[in-house]
């Protein structure tokens, strides 16, 4: 099955990283990537060639398609793939639970804390398969609800198999129980037992 990726609207190095992450998740032999600029077309082509794909690309102006294919006949061994991808595609060896207890990251300046928290959520995926569950409590539950810019990033995490859960009592307290757009509702028992199951808990 061809792995289709849409990397339009992304500037380098983001398209290459998207392709890398997609291949780390599922090492398909056929991949098709849409990009909207020449640098991304060339960079994605170079990356796929580096991963032993036969690469073709077409398009012009602001829409290009890069198609990579590697068949049974081509040599694809674990040692042939380059270290950066190989290291990151190792299955999660740890279970990390991230507990987000508010809307700001750190104390000092709330505008800065707001930006940092958004960046933190956006960057969580870099934990790779080690990231097991993200739990939102108190005002942190707002990230899972309508109007939060974090929603698409959490949806991406959920799509990668990360459990996204928010405290039901907290959602109710802030009257946003019906506005939840990503993840599942949880309770204190599940949060507490989750802390026991996890290899490490990061509290923010």
């Amino acid at each position: 099955m061809t792995n289709e990726l849409d990397c339009r609207g992304l500037e380098c190095p983001a398209p290459v990283l998207h392709v890398r992450d997609a291949l780390a998740k599922e090492a398909s032999n056929d991949i098709s990537v849409l990009v909207d600029n020449e640098a991304a077309r060339q960079n994605v082509s170079r990356f796929l060639e580096h991963q032993s794909y036969q690469v073709q690309s077409d398009g012009e102006g602001e829409l290009f398609r890069v198609v990579g294919r590697r068949g049974v006949g081509t040599q694809v061994t674990a040692t042939a793939s380059p270290p950066p991808v190989a290291e990151q595609s190792v299955a999660g060896s740890k279970k990390i639970m991230v507990l987000i207890t508010g809307v700001y990251l750190g104390h000092g300046d709330d505008a800065l804390g707001d930006m940092l928290m958004f960046n933190f959520i956006k960057t969580l995926k870099e934990m790779g398969p080690d990231l097991w569950r993200v739990v939102f409590v108190n005002s942190g539950v707002s990230f899972t609800s309508e109007g939060s810019e974090a929603v698409p990033f959490l949806q991406e995490l959920a799509g990668n198999g990360v459990q996204i859960v928010a405290c039901g009592a907290c959602l109710a307290y802030f009257h946003i129980l019906d506005k939840m757009q990503v993840g599942e509702v949880t309770n204190m028992l599940e949060i507490v037992t989750g802390m026991q199951q996890a290899d490490s808990v990061v509290t923010i």
Binding site: E11, C12, P13, V16, L17, N37, E38, A39, Q42, N43, V44, S45, R46, F47, H50, P82, P84, L105, G106, G108, D109, A111, L112, M115, L116, N119, F120, E126, V202, T203, I204
Partner: protein
């Protein structure tokens, strides 16, 4: 509780000199402009050199330049140092001595703590001090993306201006810093660069071209430029085009970061490198055995890159020895000026 420090390079689109407007586009804005004429303007816009030069008297001219860009590293102090070293470099490349500087700042005050700006300026000041330059003022605007740099003024003798032109047959070309900082900045943004490499490249970018400039002053140097956003071949093309000479580059002699070669093969190449190739690629002939990633590095936009010096053939080895003796370890002869093919660069 985790204390997350802000990663400057993550907050901007383009990094360092890779953020430079594509060269072909800038030409469209500038060509055919009605420029004021003054006989004392020795180097102006129409010569497109590293810096402008204005004659004050028979033995004194002002050399002026401005450079600013978004951060390519995460640490504010280092960013300030690199931006300052990069801005000062144009004065050194002309053979001048920088004297005064003004800060140019665009700062996202709504999303960034003002202490970050203070640290950036402290970094810039540390380089100004090292260069013997005084800060005379500056200008700050609020912007969605952080940018920092300097407008620099220096002294130069009107008869001792080092332009990009005036290459002579047989001249050897010497490069004083390794290539690959644009690709490494992209890898830093992609969080693939480890701390040791980041530190090493940061130090190289923050290194003033002052020592190299002081040393070359004792040699018969015919032309000089500094390698920044247009990449090694882009800046070399500015030297070669309309010079009446050609240049032969030995790719294996050009100092490069090995990690940048690896990342180039992986496709972590800034858009600026492709722009540089499409703008200047037509002047370059690559031998078939020059690997693609080496070609990529030769077009890679550099932030605060080294000097590219055209020196009389007989003095080239001595100049390299003198540079190395001063700690400029990677200085190397990378090519020579030849009679044929005229106005072309051959990379072997």
């Amino acid at each position: 509780m985790i204390t997350e420090t802000i990663k400057l390079s993550q907050t901007v689109k383009g990094a360092g000199c890779a953020a430079k407007l594509a060269p072909g586009i800038l030409d469209k804005a500038l060509c055919g402009l009605d420029l004021p004429v003054d006989p004392n303007l020795l180097i102006g816009l129409e010569h497109a050199d590293d810096a402008g030069v204005y004659r004050v008297s028979d033995d004194l001219a002002l050399v002026q330049t401005v450079d600013f860009f978004p951060p390519m590293v995460d640490d504010p102090f280092s960013f300030g140092q690199i931006a300052a070293a990069n801005a000062l470099s144009d004065v050194y490349a002309m053979g001048g001595v920088p004297k005064t500087a003004m800060n140019i700042v665009a700062f996202p005050a709504k999303t960034m703590d003002i202490s970050i700006l203070r640290t950036i300026i402290e970094g810039g000041l540390s380089k100004m001090r090292e260069a013997g330059v005084v800060l005379v003022g500056g200008h700050t605007v609020e912007d969605s993306e952080l940018k920092y740099g300097l407008a620099v003024t220096g002294y130069i003798h009107p008869d001792r201006i080092l332009t990009k032109k005036k290459l002579q047959n047989g001249d050897r070309l010497i490069l004083t810093k390794p290539l690959g900082t644009g690709i490494i900045a992209t890898a830093i943004k992609a969080r693939l660069a480890d701390q040791a490499l980041t530190d090493m490249v940061t130090k190289a970018m923050a290194t003033l071209n002052r020592d190299a400039a002081l040393i070359m002053d004792d040699f018969t140097v015919h032309a000089c430029t500094d390698i920044t956003g247009f990449g090694f071949l882009g800046h070399l093309a500015e030297m070669v085009v309309d010079s009446g000479h050609g240049v032969r580059i030995t790719a294996s002699d050009v100092p490069m970061y090995p990690e940048a070669l690896e990342w180039a093969a992986m496709g972590l190449i800034p858009a600026g490198a492709y722009n540089n190739r499409s703008f200047r690629g037509a002047f370059v002939d690559f031998a078939p055995d020059v690997p693609r990633e080496v070609q990529d590095l030769l077009f890679d936009p550099q932030t605060s890159g080294g000097l590219l010096i055209a020196v009389a053939a007989g003095e080239a080895k001595l100049l390299v020895i003198a540079l190395k003796a001063k700690g400029i370890d990677c200085a190397a002869i990378v090519g020579e000026v030849v009679a044929e093919p005229v106005d072309r660069i051959v990379v072997e």
